[in-house]
């Protein structure tokens, strides 16, 4: 077990702890600042970083992440540059990192090359919101060869037999989409979330982390009581937006995440 994501969940389980996963858009507001934010997140005790690869048509994302993605693209951010950044980050930082990418960016790069270059650069896994495992055979095949994690999604309307199938295809962890819809902060957690996560946990031993719509400390705490991890994205991007011109942006983001992470 060399994969950083798997090692992380193994050690968290031994300590009976839950994972805090932070999503940020790579290259927003710039690649340089993304790098600094990653170091800041490490300081705040984050367990895993989900690094968004910007895409022109992010149809699983709400307005907050859409906009960060569009701004990053305007600055010329692309996959090779992101991989180079991760390589640089790896000199100082050993935090598990997964890329969140839309399928076309991976497909154009070439699945085999994508997995190989990710592993060389120090990326530990990939999360593709528009790739159901049925369409991911090629990616999974190459990922297995390189001990590279493929995180697939389950949703509130995923059937029991399908959860089994998806769990079988997933490695690293399983991404549980808290609610029907796109990413973005919501006032309350959807009804049935706890029962649904419990149902899924009966089916698979793999870690289940909950994302989409997580917006405050109370929700983080509630989710951590049932899931193996909590994923926060839009709320962090909003914090970046609100402090975009501050010199100590990375520090502010770090403190904000620390204030959420306390509740795990």
């Amino acid at each position: 077990m060399d994969n950083r994501i798997e090692k992380k969940f193994f050690s968290l389980r031994e300590k009976n702890k839950k994972a805090f996963i932070a999503f940020i858009t790579a290259g927003y507001p710039s690649l340089k600042l993304t790098e600094e934010i990653v170091y800041g997140l490490e300081q705040s005790g984050v367990d895993l970083i989900e690094l968004g690869v910007p895409f022109s048509d992010p149809l699983a994302d709400g307005p907050t992440i859409q906009l960060s993605s569009a701004k990053a693209l305007e600055k010329g951010v692309n996959l090779p540059k992101i991989l180079a950044m991760v390589k640089k980050i790896r000199i100082k930082c050993d935090l598990p990192i997964a890329l969140m990418a839309y399928y076309n960016t991976v497909f154009q790069y070439g699945e085999e090359k994508f997995v190989r270059d990710c592993v060389i650069s120090g990326v530990d896994g990939v999360i593709i919101p528009d790739l159901p495992p049925e369409e991911g055979e090629k990616l999974i095949k190459h990922a297995r060869k390189h001990d590279f994690a493929t995180v697939f999604f389950i949703a509130p309307n995923t059937t029991t037999s399908r959860i089994k199938f998806i769990a079988g295809m997933s490695s690293g962890f399983i991404y549980y989409v808290s609610t029907s819809g796109v990413t973005g902060m919501r006032k309350s957690l959807p009804e049935g979330l706890f029962l649904n996560v419990k149902r899924a946990k009966k089916i698979t031993k793999k870690p289940i982390c909950v994302g989409f719509g997580v917006s405050d400390a109370r929700q983080v705490k509630q989710i951590a009581s049932v899931a193996d991890g909590v994923i926060v994205g839009s709320a962090i991007i909003k914090t970046i937006n609100a402090n975009i011109n501050r010199k100590d942006l990375a520090k502010i983001v770090s403190l904000y995440v620390k204030s959420l992470k306390r509740y795990i």
């Binding site: 022109s56 048509d57 699983a60 859409q66 569009a70 076309n104 497909f107 159901p132």
Partner: protein, 392 residues
Amino acid sequence: MRFPNKKGYFGRFGGRFVPETLISLLDDLEKSYYSLRKDKVFQGELDFYLKEYAGRPTRLYFASKLSRALRTLRVFLKREDLLHTGAHKINNTLGQILVAARMKKTRVIAETGAGQHGVATATAAALLGLKCDIYMGSEDIERQSLNVYRMKLLGARVIPVSSGSKTLKDAMNEAIRDWVTNVKDTFYLIGSVAGPHPYPEMVRDFQSIIGKEAGAQFKNKIGKLPDYLVACVGGGSNAMGLFHAFYNDKSVKMIGIEAAGCGINTSKHAATLGKGRIGVLHGSRENVLQDKYGQIINAHSIAAGLDYPGVGPEHCFYKETKRAEYFSVTDKEAVEGLKFLSQSEGIIPALETAHAIAYLPKLAKKVKGQKSVIVCLSGRGDKDVNSLKGLL
């Protein structure tokens, strides 16, 4: 061999590339549609509406003046422009709205470019008493304002989309985001042979009546098969509707015409089959206009209905297997085509359809001897009068 296969593939094109939340909805839709397709009561209901409400069968009109001008071609126009709401789009929206009603959905959403699909959806929704929201790019709202008023009069809400290129692609992104949010009551009524399986197949089935009728009508008039079929291609629904019934008639040559915009060697065109590469857009593996990193490039066409950087997977398959050929004509040529048909036959076509017309003089020069051609006259041009004012 029957296409698509069980996973929704036409050769290597098609499939289902969507967020997990939509998988069970697509499974439900596939199941319902496959059972309704064989259901005589459902088909009877659809036939009734197509005939009594929409005005099928449409005429196959021999365009003698146009043919005389073109010399080597005998042109037959499949008059989809004479259907209720003025375009072929109603064939599909009536079909899908009946599926939606059978699935007990209470709300339909749709994306629209030229507004024809939006109008046809709003019409069908009014007819069946379903709530209707239409996503439309803000640039298209501007250039197709007449259709916006029509949708509103029909009781639909038109939701402007101002992200990205503010056209059809972005309207479709937003419709998908709505669908993934409102999974229980909402039916997504896709207007082209695009999107995740089973949409390309279902829309093709509903539109294939165009080719079935045209084939029978042509046989009646002439007693054989036509030599050529010509239709414009954006997402590709009217072209697939005409082509599909002739798939096994190998002597019939099929030609799809894409929008070359300002020219296919500029950055402003919508020639997805001509210039795109295989990729994934809006749930399906198909030809896509994209940069080397897989970012989708904005399309451009004077015709809002062709202004789309993807194209239906079945067309990609037809192209790859050489069952059909695809060419393109520019904005300027399309306007000339529009004038040509208007002034030779007294029929003003939609700017989309005008692309097919504009190709005829080129085809006329290529053929040897006299050839017959069926053109899908997919829509009428009333909606474009506003944006054409400056060009005359």
